[in-house]
Symmetry: C2
Subunit: 127 residues, 2 copies
């Protein structure tokens, strides 16, 4: 069973990948056949290469992740609360909880992101 | 689709059920055929009556839930960070993230609790 400490290290590297604007670093944390559902209900993104493209798009806005509390580790999974902060000198931010399920090699097999319109703050409303 | 505000209200009533030590109030938030997995990897608890028994046991310790950040709402689901505080004049607490999936009637269909040994603080270690 993957240790809590190993899950926390992977989540720290995930945050660091955003600090470095490095989609390849984020994608490398995933298993080859991993899936990403971000946010819940969106079409599944499948496979490390598609996941790299997803992070390339996401990182174009220069966002940073700020952890908001302890990583919760349960069995082969972890959940953690954070805020996505946009690098636009403004107040744009999105409150998110991600859940990661890991394989025995410590790679992320499944990522699910919980956030929605009510968690988006400082965005202009559509005209 | 269930509104974010309706999910937040249900989570507030969930916290209130612990404040009142009322397992029936907690169980009434669930659908008749709901499942609870607490923590992740534990055997599923199925059905509202078994869920009431589960909360009856859980509430015998006089625990209270303290929310630690915004409820994240995504589609038919929500996730929220909180701390379970034990009513023992001590420092015992457990950091948890719960995810709730709702049906169209606004009842909880599926609850999953993310926490593990690394999230338990102030407990005596086994001798």
């Amino acid at each position: 069973m993957l240790s809590y400490e190993a899950m926390v290290r992977t989540i720290a590297r995930y945050v660091e990948a955003f600090d470095r604007d490095d989609p390849g670093m984020a994608a490398a944390l995933y298993a080859e056949n991993a899936t990403v559902e971000d946010p819940l209900g969106a079409p599944l993104i499948r496979g490390r290469e598609a996941i790299r493209e997803f992070y390339k798009m996401a990182m174009q806005a220069g966002v940073r992740l700020k952890l908001e509390g302890a990583v919760r580790g349960a069995g082969d999974s972890a959940a953690f609360p954070f805020v996505v902060v946009f690098n636009d000198a403004g107040q744009k931010r999105i409150e998110v909880i991600d859940t990661f399920r890991f394989n025995e090699a410590g790679e992320i097999l499944e990522m699910r992101a919980f956030w929605g319109p009510a968690n988006m703050h400082g965005f202009k409303s559509p005209a």
